[in-house]
């Protein structure tokens, strides 16, 4: 199987769709002449022209609204927002409009629209460029939220999102664009709402998504060295959430710890903790553990930023608090 980066996998998915269907077009800030702020759409303007690859003004609300309106009429727009932080400028269109139109119209009209945007911190971009807001979108009925952590999933989930027929918030991670992985040459999709078991284990389940899935895997290696067998579940979709996969894993391991990059208060990790407590309480041998980002605006300076974001050692420490007697 050929290897490529997360960025290349996204780019390939978009190129394939642009070549396949004329109704499909891209809009966003600096996606054309500049080539995309994370270079996902590099070379697209040259290949597909201005009709298909539209540079927009810095008007997030208008960009998203335009895409909603176009999608309602049978065009197939895809939006790139430069970062998830800027999605706040389009929150009215995403939450009050995209998520509601199908329901409010009694099912008369759908909004088949994918909004791509990178999330996350870790690059010293400071408080206004380092948030993980995907949990906010997962709170909204009418939206779907996906968070690929590998090149394979990036391409497969993007294909599924494009063909889903609903507004999908497609959350990339700014630190994953250079990550390499295997991507099949043939067409495939990764269905929305299906978690992936990244590593089998028996003693506890680590639950994460996006970049934290890799942090959980690194922690699982460290835990193995301490005599603990950790299973790692990568959620891949926050909405719909694969509750069955969580329950099945906890039935096997009887312990769970949630790892999330976002601050814990009011966040999506709490949703996962609550879901496990609600659906799998009888299988639990301990309260569900939870390691999350610090409850602070992201600091700029490297040592403080590192403190604010979960890493493998913090996950191991979290597990140690849950099962101190088991550590070698």
């Amino acid at each position: 199987m050929p290897e490529m980066t997360y960025r290349e996998a996204l780019s390939l998915a978009l190129r394939e769709e642009l070549r396949r269907r004329d109704c499909f077009f891209l809009m966003g800030e600096d996606i054309g002449a500049y080539g995309g702020s994370y270079a996902v759409t590099k070379g697209f303007l040259e290949e597909f022209g201005e009709r298909r690859v539209k540079d927009t003004p810095i008007s997030e609300s208008a960009i998203v609204g335009l895409a909603i309106g176009a999608a309602m009429l049978g065009a197939c727009p895809m939006i790139e927002l430069m970062t998830i932080n800027f999605s706040l400028l389009a929150m009215d269109q995403i939450v009050n409009h995209a998520a509601k139109i199908h329901y409010m119209s009694g099912g008369q009209v759908a909004v088949p629209l994918v909004l791509r945007m990178p999330t996350g911190g870790g690059f010293q971009l400071g408080a206004q460029h380092s948030q993980n807001l995907e949990g906010w979108f997962a709170h909204v009925p009418g939206l779907k939220v996906v968070t690929p952590s590998t090149p394979y999933d990036a391409k497969g989930l993007l294909k599924a999102a494009i063909n889903d027929g609903n507004p999908v918030i497609f959350v990339e991670h700014s630190l994953l664009y250079g990550m390499r992985g295997e991507v099949p040459e043939e067409e495939y999709v990764v269905p929305l709402g299906q978690a992936a078991i990244r590593r089998e284990g028996t003693d506890l389940t680590l639950i994460a998504y996006s970049r934290m899935a890799h942090v959980a895997l690194e922690a699982a290696d460290k835990l193995a060295a301490r005599g603990i067998s950790a299973e790692v579940v990568d959620l891949r979709s926050l909405r719909p959430l694969d509750v069955d996969a969580l329950v099945r894993s906890v039935q096997k391991t009887n312990r769970a710890l949630v790892v999330e990059e976002a601050p814990k208060s009011g966040g999506f990790g709490g949703e996962v903790v609550a879901t496990i407590s609600d659906q799998a309480f009888d299988f639990l041998d301990a309260p569900v553990g939870w390691v999350g980002g610090a409850d602070v605006p992201m600091p700029y300076t490297r040592p403080l930023e590192a403190l604010a974001i979960p890493d493998a050692d913090k996950v191991v420490a979290g597990v140690q608090r849950m099962m101190p007697g088991r550590f070698r």
């Binding site: 109704c23 077009f25 009709r51 927009t56 003004p57 008007s59 609300s61 208008a62 960009i63 998203v64 609204g65 335009l66 895409a67 909603i68 309106g69 176009a70 999608a71 309602m72 009429l73 049978g74 065009a75 727009p77 009215d92 269109q93 009050n96 409009h97 139109i101 199908h102 329901y103 409010m104 119209s105 009694g106 099912g107 008369q108 009209v109 759908a110 909004v111 088949p112 009925p141 009418g142 779907k144 063909n163 889903d164 027929g165 609903n166």
Partner: protein, 326 residues
């Protein structure tokens, strides 16, 4: 006014008149049903503003599109929506346009090219521009009329949308229904320059202000804007000066308006003005006018009866239509 009726023709003139009467009587009847608590939530009446919707929508084709705001009954009716289905939607019934899930502020009628019904001020504007973008991108030749109020003109979405529409020459006409009050705040207390039509200049499109109580003036201005849009010459902004004869919603006694102001505008009732013009042009007499009123009143009564007798949606409807089936 009557001298401008010649190019309209008697049949079309009477069709517009009948539409204005339909909106008026529909709204008056809806107000009654609201008082009887058959209609819940917010109810924003279009009474006094009928000439704007009817004049503007009379200039477009059936396959063209209309986007509106929370005061949307008039636009839907003028675009051809069935009064029975509109009233049933206000009643929250399963036979309503949106199966009772939208309500007064969220009418949608895809079959008739009426695409909402948005209750966030200016929220429908970029979506309307998106319809125009789809028409342009897919080469459909359809034009979009986007209605919004004076309050919307101070929202960021107004400015973002007019900018991109002007930049990309989208086939859309922005129709600013200036009824002088954004809820209870008069336009000159909210806008640094209350000449709202002048904002068109900033976005490289023609702008003009017309008498929104004069259906023919609205029709003429919007007609020219629609011609431009269809010819690929880009968007326009038409500001219609109008007045709502009732409060912002049924909950609003409108104490912030001077009685003299209300009386002065009431003297310019758009239906009375149009009726007088039609009579002067000998297109309508008292008997004819009475007949139209009677027929429309019967139509509205039938709509109320239909809405009242229709069932509410079943419990299982709660979870339907959250997501479209892939």
């Amino acid at each position: 006014m009557s001298d401008r009726l010649d190019d309209l023709g008697r049949d079309e003139a009477l069709r517009l008149y009948r539409q204005m009467v339909l909106i008026r009587l529909f709204e008056e009847r809806a107000a009654q049903e609201y008082a009887y608590q058959k209609i819940g939530g917010f109810l924003h009446l279009y009474i006094g503003e009928e000439a704007v919707a009817v004049g503007a929508i009379s200039t477009i084709r059936q396959d063209d599109l209309v986007v509106s705001h929370y005061r949307d009954h008039g636009h839907a009716l003028a675009k051809g929506s069935d009064p029975k289905k509109v009233m049933a939607e206000l009643f929250g019934k399963v036979t309503g346009l949106c199966k009772g899930k939208g309500g007064s502020m969220h009418l949608f009628d895809v079959e008739h090219g009426f695409l909402g019904g948005y209750a966030i001020v200016a929220g429908g504007m970029p979506i309307a521009a998106g319809h125009a973008l789809a028409s342009q991108y897919l080469g459909q030749g359809r034009v979009v009329l986007d209605f919004f109020g004076d309050g919307a003109a101070n929202e960021g979405e107004f400015h973002e949308t007019l900018n991109v529409a002007g930049l990309w020459k989208l086939p859309i006409v922005f129709i600013l229904e200036n009824n002088l009050y954004a809820m209870g705040t008069r336009v000159d207390r909210a806008s640094a320059n209350p000449e709202l039509w002048e904002r068109a200049q900033a976005y490289n499109m023609p702008g003009q202000r017309v008498d929104g109580m004069d259906v023919l003036a609205v029709r003429r201005a919007v007609g020219e804007a629609v011609r431009r849009a269809r010819a690929g010459e880009g968007p326009s902004l038409v500001e219609a000066l109008t007045y709502r004869f009732r409060g912002h919603s049924m909950a609003d006694p409108a104490r912030y308006r001077e009685r003299a102001e209300v009386e002065s505008w009431s003297g310019r009732d758009p239906i009375t003005l149009f009726s007088a013009a039609l009579q002067e042009a000998e297109m309508l007499d008292d008997a004819g006018s009475q007949r139209i009123h009677d027929e429309v009143a019967a139509q509205v009564e039938e709509a109320v009866r239909f809405a009242d007798e229709s069932p509410f949606p079943p419990p299982e409807a709660l979870y339907q239509d959250v997501y479209a089936e892939g």
